[in-house]
Symmetry: C2
Subunit: 322 residues, 2 copies
C-alpha cells in the first residue's frame, strides 16, 4: 500500500522511524513526502525513508504536485495543527478523498469542523477516513468503538483529553506553580504554540466536538461546547484539593438529555475512587457510559510523540486490512 505523507515534522518523522523499524511487518511503501517549507519528494517506486530522515531539506523545491496526482493509495495528513480554522488540513483531506484516496489524519481541525461532510465524502468515494490520533495520541477510542463496542449506544462520555492542562493541574497538586508547569509543557513542545488554545479550552472543545459527533452521532459545533478555563485559580484549587486527597483535573463531559447532546470542558474535583483520578501528568483517558457494555474506561499513561505516530500506524494497518 502506497502512502503519501503531508507534513514531515515531529509526528511525520516519528512515523517514518516506525515504518522503518517495522518494515518487515507493515506492508507500506512511502511514495511521497510534502512539506510546506522544506521541499518535497515524490518517487512512485518508494522513497528511501532513512535518507529522508537524514535531511533537513527534501530534494525537490518549488510547487509540489497536487494531492490528486500523488502516486499513492492513502494520504496521511499530519501538517501543522490549526484547530480553529482547520486549514490547510481540511482542504487536503477533501482533495484526497475526492481523488479516491484513503485518508489518515492526526489533525483535529477537519474532524471537529466537518466530520459529517468528510464522512459523506469518504462513503461517496468508497474510501476510508481514519483519525485515531486526533483525540489523545494512541488512546484507543475510535478503534475501540468499532472493534469492542459494536451496536452499543454511547449515552455519555467523560474524559481527560488535553495533556497540557492535565500536566499543569497535576503539577499544581505537587505545589508547582502554574507558570512553571506551563513553561515546562512549552519547552517540551506539548503545549500548543498559542497556550490560550489549551488553557481556554479550545483544544478540549475541538476534541469534545469530535467525540460527540463521531461516538454519539451528534451534530454540534466547537462553539457549542461550554468552556471553563484552566487558569491560575484552577491551579490553586488543585493545590488545595491535593491536601484533602482529591485532584482537580481538566474534564470534558458529554451527555445526551431529552434528545439533545450537550458538551462542556473545565476543571473538576475528583475523589480517589473516580476512574479519572489516577490519570496524572501527561496522561489522558476516556470513560464511556454505554447501554450494552456498561461503563468502560481507557487510559493512556505518559505518552510521547511516538504514540501519535503509532496511532497513525494503527489506522494505516486497519486500512490495509492487517
Amino acid at each position: 500500500m502506497r502512502v503519501a505523507l503531508l507534513g514531515f515534522g515531529g509526528v511525520g518523522r516519528a512515523l517514518a522511524r516506525l515504518l522503518l523499524a517495522k518494515r518487515d511487518d507493515a506492508p507500506f511503501l512511502v511514495t511521497a513526502i510534502l512539506t510546506r517549507s522544506h521541499g518535497w519528494w515524490v518517487d512512485a517506486s518508494g522513497i528511501d525513508l532513512a535518507g529522508a530522515l537524514s535531511r533537513s531539506e527534501l530534494p525537490s523545491r518549488g510547487a509540489s504536485p497536487a494531492i490528486g496526482d500523488l502516486p499513492c493509495d492513502v494520504v496521511v495528513e499530519i501538517t501543522t495543527l490549526d484547530a480553529r480554522t482547520a486549514q490547510p488540513a481540511l482542504g487536503h483531506v477533501r482533495a484526497a478523498l475526492r481523488a479516491r484516496k484513503h485518508v489518515v489524519t492526526a489533525n483535529k481541525g477537519p474532524i471537529a469542523r466537518a466530520y459529517r461532510e468528510l464522512r459523506g465524502l469518504a462513503a461517496a468515494n468508497g474510501r476510508l477516513l481514519r483519525f485515531e490520533a486526533t483525540l489523545s495520541d494512541c488512546l484507543p477510542v475510535f478503534t475501540l468503538r468499532r472493534a469492542a463496542l459494536p451496536l452499543a449506544e454511547i449515552r455519555a462520555l467523560r474524559g481527560i483529553v488535553s495533556s497540557t492542562t492535565n500536566h499543569i493541574l497535576s503539577a499544581a497538586a505537587r505545589g508547582v506553580s502554574f507558570s512553571d508547569a506551563l513553561a515546562e509543557a512549552q519547552r517540551l513542545g506539548i503545549a500548543e504554540a498559542d497556550p490560550s488554545n489549551d488553557l481556554e479550552g479550545h483544544d478540549a472543545a475541538a476534541k469534545a466536538t469530535i467525540l460527540a459527533n463521531v461516538l454519539m452521532d451528534a451534530d454540534i459545533r466547537m462553539e457549542d461546547v461550554r468552556r471553563a478555563p484552566i487558569d491560575e485559580a484552577a491551579a490553586r484549587d488543585a493545590t488545595l484539593a491535593a491536601r484533602d486527597g482529591a485532584r482537580v483535573r481538566p474534564i470534558v463531559e458529554i451527555r445526551r438529555a431529552a434528545g439533545a447532546v450537550s458538551a462542556s470542558t473545565g476543571p473538576r474535583r475528583l475523589d480517589p475512587l473516580d476512574p479519572l483520578y489516577a490519570v496524572d501528568g501527561w496522561s489522558m483517558a476516556l470513560e464511556l457510559d454505554t447501554d450494552l457494555a456498561g461503563k468502560v474506561v481507557v487510559q493512556l499513561h505518559d505518552p510521547h510523540v511516538e504514540q501519535v505516530a503509532y496511532a497513525v500506524l494503527t489506522d494505516l494497518l486497519e486500512i490495509a486490512g492487517y
Copy 2:
C-alpha cells in the same frame, strides 16, 4: 450466519435476549440450543428465541446430535464452567473446530489449558476461535489487542480479573466482614460454586495463563502461576489500608524477564495514583505495558451477566465480518 448455543443458562439466556433485541442489526440465526439436562432444540430454519426463553425445558429429549452434525457456521460454547478440568467445554471446542465451525467460548478452561492446540486447530481448519468473555466479561482485551495494539509487543501486564475477590476486598475497605462479602457474591451468583476457586486464586491463575499465552506468546500452565490467597488476613489488610487512603486489591501480574514469562496472583496494596486503585467492587481492569503504545489501561465498571453475553456477541459480530 447460523449459530449453535451449547448451554442455555444465565449467559445463554442473556445472549438470546440480546440477539432478539438486536435482530435488525445482528445477522444471526440460532439453529441449535443444546443443554446438559434441560433438553435440546435443533431447527435449521431458525429457532424461535422468544419461545426458547419462555420454556424451562427444550422440546427434544434424549441424545442430542453430535456437534459436527449441527446445522451451523459457528458454535457458542457457554456450558457450565469448570476451569480446572476444562471439560466438557474443551471437547466441544475441539469437535466444533474439527467440523470446520467457528467457535466463540466464554469458558476459561479450554483457553487456559489448551490455547496453543486450539489455535493450531482453528488455523488448520481455516476457522476463527474467539474468547473475549473468558477473561473479564466484556472488558476489551483480545479485541483491543487485535484492533488497537497491532505489532506492539506486550512486555508486562497487571490486572484485576476476578469480580468476587475484588468485591470482598472492596467491601473490607468499607468495614464489611470477609464472610458477609463472600456470602453476597454467592447470593448474586458471581462467586464460583466452589469459593476456593476464587479465593485460592485458581480462577485468577487460569486468567493469568490466558493473558500470558495469548497476549505475550508465552507457554505457561495454570500451575506455573504463583498464587497467594484472598483470605481473612488479606481482608484485614484491606480494612487497615483503607484507613491510610490505600486499597488492597487482587492483582495478577505477568512479566517477561530474561526471556521467561512469570505470572503471579494475590493481594497488593495500591496507592490512589495507581491506575487500578479506582477499580472497585465488581469492577475489573487490565494495564498493558507495551513497546509501541506505552502504558494502556482498560477498565470495566460493575458489570452484570448481560456484559458476558455482550462479549460473546462482539466475538460473533467479528466472525460475521460486521
